[in-house]
């Protein structure tokens, strides 16, 4: 009896979340891919052929003949999409580097802080993450506007006499991404620095290293796992970011998340948005797989 119950329990523990994720996470990707092969139509749902699950295999094969790669051909012909992909990757990469440059000293300072105040510092880093993403991006509009708080401040202390134009440029997007994703970079770096054996740095210093060499050759390589995790946590979502380029970027800023959103909501072109999403996913597959492996490795080490 116990053995049967035990086997049933462990089965259920695995099967329930497994089935949920298969149905709501994995299968939808296949549907996206399938609809990317359809044509736009003025109907509801606005594409053709409509997939009929109950049409049987012959029905599916019949419909499958209507599939075409036209949407993908169109994406390669229209330079707008190509530019949007390239500029999304560049903007995400630049923002990731900027985030790293700001986050590392903060994480380093936290790891060196007295043990008693570390939990408080940690909570202060996590707290903004709990407040709304939208709100935090919105807060920057009032700061970066030409007549905004930053320009008022800089002009009042006579650093500039003309307002800086930051809002609706790529700089505003960089600031928005760095700001929104900073905790994602600080936390993994902090946790790898905190675990580090500090006697190693001391040994390097005793052996005559300058503090900088000791940092660069001992501390930094040991924190590399955290740096990589942080960079992936920032880079991957930033490539597909929608809210930040939409609210802070200008009309000429091209980012693929925004393009997809407009294609879907304004043009109501579901097949093309699906094709855009499929290619975006293909671009991100390598970093995502790399991220999963790093996570799985960190877990097995944690045991």
């Amino acid at each position: 009896m116990t053995r049967v119950a035990s086997a049933l329990f462990s089965r259920l523990v695995i099967i329930i979340p497994y089935a949920w994720l298969l149905f709501f996470f994995l299968i939808p990707f296949f549907i996206v891919f399938r609809i990317s092969l359809s044509q736009t139509a003025v109907a509801m749902p606005p594409y053709t052929p409509v997939f009929d699950l109950f049409g049987g295999l012959s029905g599916i094969l019949e419909k499958a003949r209507e599939f075409s790669f036209d949407n993908y051909v169109w994406l390669t012909e229209d330079v707008l999409y190509f530019n949007a992909y390239v500029s999304s990757v560049i903007i995400a990469a630049v923002s990731t580097v900027l985030t790293l440059l700001i986050a590392y000293p903060v994480a380093y300072g936290m790891a060196k802080a007295p043990k008693t105040i570390r939990p408080t510092l940690l909570m202060l880093v996590i707290l903004p993450f709990w407040t709304s993403f939208l709100i935090r991006v919105y807060a920057w509009i009032a700061i970066l506007k030409p007549e905004g708080l930053l320009n008022q401040f800089l002009m009042s202390i006579n650093v500039i006499d003309q307002p800086l134009i930051i809002l609706n440029t790529n700089w505003a997007i960089y600031i928005g991404i760095v700001y929104s994703y900073l905790p994602f970079m600080v936390l993994p770096i902090y946790s790898s620095l905190e675990k580090m054996d500090h006697t190693l740095t001391e040994a390097a210093l005793d052996l005559g290293c300058t503090p900088f060499t000791a940092f660069w050759r001992v501390t930094f390589p040991l924190s590399l796992a955290g740096v990589v995790a942080g960079c992936l946590l920032v880079f991957i979502p930033a490539v597909g970011e929608f809210v930040i380029p939409d609210l802070l970027g200008g009309s000429e800023t091209l980012m693929i998340g925004k393009t997809l959103w407009n294609e879907f909501n304004a043009n109501r072109d579901w097949p093309v948005s699906s094709a855009v999403a499929t290619i975006l996913l293909l671009i991100l597959v390598l970093p995502i797989v790399y991220f999963q492996n790093a996570q799985a490795k960190a877990d097995s080490e944690g045991k």
Binding site: S6, S10, I14, P17, P128, A142, Y179, L284, I288
Partner: protein, 272 residues
């Protein structure tokens, strides 16, 4: 341990200043008398009183809270099961795929998740609205719960569980009597995380919603596009306040429970 140098302190102060200044400014200007958000014209709470008369906004807030409560609760159950599956059962068919499906949603761009879920709901002919948003939120927040609970399970002393099983408790009873009480703080913080993620979500909700189901972030977003107003600052301030209080209370509760658990464990060891 090296010393805490001036450079370390300066980088922390600057980093935290950068993180908090925009939020502080937003809160300050929600009390601005003037309609201009960037020019201070005196203290006023009129924007808050105006919020109470904005029925559309209150409706949206109510929808958001219901979605968040239901989805966070379901996500906590599913996420805890997923964490158990990942930590306790290291060998089962398709485990690689499973762990991939748990981690991938953490970094997946929201536009992709939103679009793919919408197309699923259309394909299976589900009416879009409150329940489709809830299902979508369960799906992406359960993975965050799984990661939080998993990290607690990894540091869990499994011998207590084995002792219960050896003494004849069924696995189900062992789970509810031993495992769940120990991981409860992590399960609770997983729930809080899922709740705030759901509260906050704009992109996935926008894709999966239907007529009649507008959430607060969607409402805020459509107003923000028209420009910055003190009224939005006031809503945002209320939301920030709720979250801040929630997080502080949750962390105090967690800390107390953990201290209690450590005392209990020590007492148990002392007796044996």
């Amino acid at each position: 341990m090296g010393t805490w140098s001036r450079f370390n302190i300066a980088s922390i102060v600057l980093g935290f200043g950068f993180l908090y200044l925009p939020i502080v400014l937003l809160v300050i200007f929600s009390f601005n008398e003037s309609k201009l958000v960037t020019v201070w014209a005196g203290f006023s709470t009129k924007w808050y009183t105006q919020l109470w008369h904005n029925q559309a906004l209150l409706d949206a807030a109510w929808v958001t809270i219901r979605v968040a409560l239901i989805s966070a609760t379901c996500a906590t159950v599913l996420g805890t099961l997923a964490a158990l599956a990942l930590v306790r059962y290291t060998r089962f068919r398709g485990r690689m795929l499973f762990s991939g499906m748990v981690y991938a949603p953490l970094v997946m761009p929201e536009v992709i998740t939103g679009l793919s879920l919408l197309l699923l709901f259309v394909a299976i002919g589900l009416d879009r609205g409150f329940w489709t948003i809830t299902l979508a939120h369960i799906t992406f927040t359960m993975c965050f719960v799984a990661v939080v609970v998993q990290s607690r399970l990894l540091s869990f002393d499994q011998s207590i569980e084995e002792a219960a099983l050896d003494l004849g408790a069924t696995p189900v009873r062992t789970f509810f009597a031993i495992t769940l009480p120990v991981i409860a703080p992590a399960v609770f913080s997983g729930w809080v995380l899922a709740f705030t993620l759901s509260l906050d979500d704009l992109v996935i909700s926008s894709f999966t919603t239907g007529p009649g189901a507008t959430t607060l972030p969607m409402k805020i977003y459509s107003q923000v596009r028209l420009g910055v107003t003190p009224e939005i600052n006031a809503i945002c301030t209320i939301l920030i306040g709720i979250v801040a209080i929630g997080v502080v209370v949750a962390s105090i509760v967690t800390k107390q429970r953990e201290a209690q658990r450590e005392r209990d464990e020590r007492a148990a060891f002392a007796q044996s």
